[in-house]
């Protein structure tokens, strides 16, 4: 139950470009906060700064009102799942999980109980006596997770804790993490590459790119009202289309798409001015596939991909590359077919290019 | 781990044979029962004793330094770590065998001899004189204890240089050693190595001090036979000294008095092949039959030039012929 504040935090290695720049965000107590961003954008670095393994080159980190920038890691009370697990190879599974409890001087009986519960929570009952190098990758990851969860830290830092788990287990574990986190009111900072996961779990999401913060908001905000073209593209692979503002009314505007000339009404236009060159984000699932000529514009199918519940289409309309997702059903267009496309104006959103 | 020794004991650093030293101490304790069990012997090489005493100068640990060449003792005396021995002890030793100021006294005369393995050579085949050593017939028949690290060997080689040269020009001496080097099969690392190599018949001939040769012969039955070289044997002095400001000066005086007594020296002479320096101890009985006589050596000159000569030998002569 402690808020975490990053006060204009930055980090650079040597003279190279900074890997984290001026991050300024406050994570409320008990919040489940997710860092999202492409590989190498500085997520782990940020997490490691909060944990105290990397000293920021600028800015401060505060837990509540306390500036902990110079506090040693063991005095911070964070629990962390390392991206590379960092399990103790000389201890067995149970000893690994118990480590944090021992340092906290938890009595032996209670310790055993909590270790067993934590292992059960990640589906590893029966593995207590295994040596770490006899576990599969996913099992190791779960030990790392159990080790961090079992201590109920006041701040939980999770660096892709589920990346090596299968969908089913991931979902179960996700629920487990959320439950533990809610019960103890743990402030959590989560790093994941799985956007569905981020959407499902997070109270708020911060989107990073090259060490810079692009947007902080609830999953719905980030998804439906991306602040920048990067966010729109990165989250859910939105189609970002160049356009010119034709007409503004309130927070909505009518824009003309570059290339196709099709007109579209969009949200997020509070600050738009007529004639301005902007970009409009339309999500793949916010297109309707029609017969050619019947939608806003026509396109040709360049690739089809079946992903389970939905089918992904890569389309080309003039110069535009578009991706479109529709529920899988028989009779969908095939590679090379011409189709019509109707963007869902309701969900279009104006973004800074 | 408790500190060794009390205040009233006697500490002796000795480079003498351990059995010899122990027997002397035993005799000393019998003669002076108040020191029973209080004499501490510390056996080590002469060079190490010198270094140890020098390093301990601020708070000396030893009372007696027993066993060192005149050069080593002189050096230490000039370094100021030795105290004069009691006058009555000093006076027992002829002047040529001691420091002029009495800061050390010679305990015995070390005769440096040529010896050979009599299982390999008959007395006829063996060299008769030092100059025989450089004859071609003895090529690869000689083992020598390595010179630079051994006080004894330094003295012998320096004596050979001085014998063959004028004081200003050591070159003839060098030339002599060059030939010796050519005949030398191998340089032994230490005395033990030397004895072993000769016993195991790697080569039959060597040079070393008489006492050790005789001791080897007697104790381990080594087939060593010293040669009464026609030009004589160089005689070195091996001495004993009192350490300045040692913990127990009175005991040191007493010990020196005992050690350098005629009786004790006679005994050492007979049992341990020592040639005493003490006037009145006479010659041990085994010495005369060997027929040795002293080779005249200008030890004064040798003392001054030794470093230079040996350095030259190491750099320019050793192993190069």
């Amino acid at each position: 139950m402690i808020p975490v504040r990053l006060d204009r935090v930055g980090k650079s290695y040597g003279s190279a470009a900074p890997v984290v720049q001026d991050i300024d965000v406050t994570i409320s107590s008990g919040e489940f906060f997710t860092l999202l961003g492409p590989s190498g954008c500085g997520k782990s670095t940020t997490l490691r700064m909060i944990a105290g393994f990397v000293t920021p080159t600028s800015g401060r980190i505060l837990f509540g009102d306390r500036d902990i920038t110079a506090t040693p890691p063991n005095k911070r009370g964070t629990g962390m799942v390392f991206q590379n697990y960092a399990l103790f190879p000389h201890y067995d599974v149970a000893q690994n999980v118990a480590y944090g409890l021992v340092t906290r001087k938890v009595a032996k009986a209670e310790r055993a109980e909590r270790v067993a519960a934590a292992l059960a929570a990640v589906g590893l009952d029966g593995y207590a006596d295994r040596r770490i190098d006899q576990l599969s990758g996913g099992q190791q990851q779960r030990v790392a997770l159990a080790r961090a969860l079992v201590i109920s830290p006041s701040v939980l830092l999770l660096d892709e804790p589920l990346s090596n788990l299968d969908a089913k287990l991931r979902e179960e574990t996700r629920v487990e993490i959320r439950r533990a986190q809610r019960e103890a009111g743990i402030t959590s900072v989560y790093v994941t590459h799985d956007q569905a996961e981020a959407m499902a779990m997070s109270d708020r999401i911060a989107v990073l790119e090259s060490g810079k913060l692009h947007q902080v908001g609830t999953p719905r905000e980030v998804y439906h009202q991306p602040a920048t073209a990067f966010v729109a593209k990165f989250i859910g692979g939105s189609n970002v289309l160049d356009a010119e503002v034709v007409e503004v009314s309130g927070d909505r505007a009518v824009v003309e798409l570059a290339g196709s000339g099709a007109k579209l009404s969009t949200g997020g236009a509070e600050q738009a001015r007529t004639g301005e060159r902007v970009a409009v984000s339309v999500r793949p699932e916010h297109f309707e596939l029609t017969e050619p000529g019947q939608g806003g514009f026509d396109a040709v199918v360049r690739a089809v991909e079946f992903t389970g519940a939905t089918c992904q289409f890569e389309l080309r309309a003039g110069d535009l590359e578009l991706s479109v997702a529709v529920p899988d059903r028989p009779g969908l267009p095939q590679l090379g077919d011409d189709v019509g496309l109707r963007p869902d104006a309701e969900h279009a959103w104006l973004v800074r290019p | 781990l408790n500190a060794a020794g009390g205040d009233d004991g006697l500490t002796i650093y000795t480079a003498r044979d351990k059995a010899l030293a122990e027997s002397v101490v035993k005799d000393f304790e019998e003669a002076n029962p108040e020191y029973k069990g209080k004499v501490r012997l510390l056996t080590l090489g002469a060079q190490e004793a010198a270094e140890r005493i020098s390093a301990e100068r601020g708070r000396p640990q030893a009372d007696i330094w027993w066993g060192g060449s005149s050069q080593q003792l002189d050096h230490a005396a000039n370094d100021g770590v030795l105290a004069p021995v009691p006058d009555q002890v000093r006076d027992r030793i002829p002047e040529r065998y001691r420091d002029a100021q009495g800061r050390w006294v010679g305990e015995m005369i070390l005769a440096e001899v040529v010896f050979y393995n009599d299982q390999m050579l008959t007395p006829e085949q063996a060299p008769k004189d030092w100059d025989d050593l450089i004859k071609p017939e003895f090529k690869d028949k000689i083992v020598v204890r390595d010179v630079a690290a051994s006080g004894t060997m330094r003295s012998i080689y320096s004596a050979m240089i001085s014998r063959n040269s004028t004081p200003d020009d050591p070159e003839p001496g060098y030339e002599w050693l060059r030939k010796l080097d050519a005949n030398t099969k191998v340089y032994a690392a230490n005395p033990t190595d030397l004895y072993l190599r000769i016993q195991r018949q790697e080569a039959p001939i060597s040079v070393w001090n008489l006492q050790d040769v005789m001791l080897q012969q007697k104790k381990s039955g080594a087939p060593f036979k010293p040669v009464a070289t026609t030009s004589g044997v160089p005689q070195l002095v091996d001495g004993v000294a009192k350490v300045k400001d040692g913990p127990n000066g009175a005991a040191a005086d007493q010990f020196l008095d005992f050690l350098l007594s005629v009786d004790e020296q006679k005994k050492l002479g007979e049992e341990y092949f020592q040639i005493p320096t003490v006037e009145g101890a006479g010659e041990p009985s085994w010495l005369a039959p060997l027929g040795l006589h002293e080779m005249p050596v200008d030890w004064e000159l040798v003392g001054g030039k030794e470093s230079e000569w040996i350095a030259h030998w190491s750099d320019r002569i050793k192993n190069q012929n």
Binding site: P89 | L196, R197
Partner: protein, 577 residues
């Protein structure tokens, strides 16, 4: 770096990406080293300016015989490093990458040659390889080859002795490193098409760099300061010059030469540090690396078993010769290949003297004490140097290694000078004349062994493990105790083993410092040799070897211990509280 006003206070903290604890721990370590190493050793440098003067003393090194001797020292040391590396690594690989019956026993015997008592060890080389030695005589008896042509001498002899006595510096550290190696790297290399040789050349050996560097440093410095072997084979190295200078009474020149010796060693140390520091040698694999379970064929196993057996026997030969001598009659073994008469007298003599076991007890106790202290300081120093993020860690490294680079006599004399009278430099401690001086000397001399070998292990350790422990609330000391130390234990143990064994065998420094009446074993052996009790000296040597054999067997057990205990399943076993 812009620092807003609010941060000024915090900026004083010396912790760029690390932990203040390193610097906290550095304080006692540096103090101990200052007190026991730096101040005493500074004497040498001071002395070296005396005598004929600074310029003359050092000037002599740049030409003439001293210069040549220095060059010869360098060449023999580099050759020794090469052959020790070859032998030690080969043996480590054979014994630790293959499993075959008898491997455990062999791996105990493989380190035994390290226990060769100094003086008598030299003699055993003469008995084995000189013209009158067992090997040339055997060859001459069997094949009629002239014994003189098969005997070893000169530089080759020096390198032979060094290779046979110093390879454990490589063997132990490489063994420790092999055990901690990430097996998947090797798999990756083979998967990419690399054959066995290439895997070794491009992956395994480079990954062993810290261990090899550790072995190379110890061997190089040891060879540079070695005197026995050059003397035995009459190779005019700088150490020979030093002894010669000292014997002629020129202490200043000797000090200058000793200083030059250590300067060369330090240059070597710094270049090796640089070499090692260029690359990363710890596994960066995700998750916990597992050692490679090499599915070796039966043929390979047999070859490895045979190879390591042969190698061990060859390496053990000098040790066996000592045992042989200890059972033979003094002086009876002359022209024969092997002694013809045997006896138990030598042992009976030792055991019938009431005092004769005292040296063993002195050596064991002082070495144990020194080793314990060396473990604490050496391991702590290794950790400090490994985690030090500021300038100056190279210096710290040099300071610790310095005693290893200097000849033993120099250490002994310096310690006597430093701890003889109460003074500022020694905090009023006078150790001379007490038994305490021995452990102090052994500590100073052998802490580099623990330090180096621990450093090599630390280089393999992923710092993320320490971070994880810190993150779980463990304070720096607990992290060291529960995570770092157990994971580098192999390295620490290897170093401690070396320190103990070398402590028991130490002669050159001991003889200058040992208190009256309490001679350590090596001095006792020396005394007996010089009183021509060659047989009993060998018997003593044999006892020392047996003692060390026991220590080796015990530590071998210790090293294997944790893994076996694990099978005893205990529910929710927890790390030591």
């Amino acid at each position: 770096m812009s620092a807003p006003v609010v941060q000024t206070r915090r900026r004083k903290l010396p912790s760029p990406d690390g932990d203040r604890f390193v610097y906290v721990l550095a304080v006692p370590v540096v103090l101990v080293l200052l007190f026991l190493v730096v101040i005493p050793m500074a004497t040498t440098a001071v002395t070296s300016a005396g005598g004929n003067g600074f310029a003359a003393n050092y000037g002599s090194l740049f030409g003439g015989s001293s210069g040549q001797a220095l060059l010869l020292s360098l060449v023999s040391s580099l050759l020794s490093v090469f052959f020790c590396g070859l032998l030690g690594t080969l043996l480590a690989v054979l014994l630790h990458r293959f499993d075959f019956p008898g491997r455990r026993a062999l791996s105990v015997f493989a380190v035994l040659p390290m226990a060769l008592p100094p003086l008598i060890g030299a003699v055993s080389f003469v008995l084995l390889y000189s013209e009158t030695g067992i090997l040339p005589r055997t060859l001459s008896a069997l094949l009629g080859i002239d014994a003189a042509s098969t005997s070893v001498g000169g530089l080759a002899g020096v390198v032979l002795v060094h290779a046979f006595t110093m390879y454990p510096y490589f063997y132990l550290s490489v063994s420790a490193a092999l055990a901690g190696m990430d097996g998947s790297l090797e798999e990756a290399a083979t998967n990419l098409g690399a054959g066995r040789v290439r895997v070794w050349r491009t992956v395994l050996l480079p990954m062993l760099t810290p261990a090899l560097v550790s072995g190379a440093l110890l061997t190089f410095m040891m060879s540079m300061a070695s005197f026995t072997a050059p003397q035995l084979y009459n190779v005019q190295t700088l150490t020979m010059e030093i002894v010669s200078a000292r014997t002629s009474g020129n202490a200043a020149l000797a000090a200058a030469q000793s200083t030059a010796l250590s300067v060369v060693s330090i240059v070597f140390l710094l270049s090796m540090r640089w070499y090692q520091g260029r690359r990363v040698h710890r596994s960066l694999s995700k998750g916990t690396p597992s050692a490679r379970r090499a599915p070796a064929s039966a043929g390979a196993k047999f070859a490895a078993a045979l190879g390591s057996l042969l190698l061990t026997v060859v390496l053990l030969a000098p040790v066996l010769v000592i045992v042989l001598v200890s059972f033979s009659v003094d002086g009876a073994w002359t022209t024969q290949v092997l002694p013809t008469e045997y006896t138990l007298d030598n042992y009976l003599e030792i055991f019938s003297e009431p005092q004769s076991l005292l040296p063993i007890s002195v050596s064991v106790q002082t070495s144990l004490l020194a080793t314990a202290f060396a473990i604490v300081v050496g391991a702590a120093a290794a950790w400090v140097v490994a985690r030090w993020r500021k300038p100056g860690r190279g210096l710290l490294d040099v300071v610790i290694m310095l005693p290893w680079a200097l000849p033993g006599t120099v250490i002994g004399v310096n310690l006597v000078t430093a701890f003889n009278e109460p003074g500022v430099g020694n905090l009023g401690l006078t150790l001379v004349g007490t038994l305490w001086i021995l452990p102090v000397a052994y500590f100073v001399r052998f802490v580099p062994l623990v330090f180096r070998s621990t450093s090599a292990s630390l280089d393999q350790l992923d710092p993320a493990l320490e971070e994880a422990a810190r993150n779980l609330g463990a304070g720096p000391l607990r992290v060291l105790r529960t995570v770092t130390l157990p994971l580098v234990m192999r390295g620490v143990l290897a170093g401690a083993l070396l320190a103990f064994v070398d402590g028991v065998g130490e002669y050159v420094a001991s003889v200058v410092i040992y208190p009256p009446g309490l001679p350590p074993m090596s001095v006792e052996i020396y005394n007996r040799i010089y009183s021509s009790e060659f047989g009993t000296a060998a018997a003593y040597g044999a006892l020392q070897i047996v003692l060390i054999l026991i220590v080796l067997a015990v530590s071998n057990r210790l090293g294997q211990g944790p893994r076996q205990k694990r099978s005893a399943a205990a529910p929710a076993v927890v790390p030591a509280a």
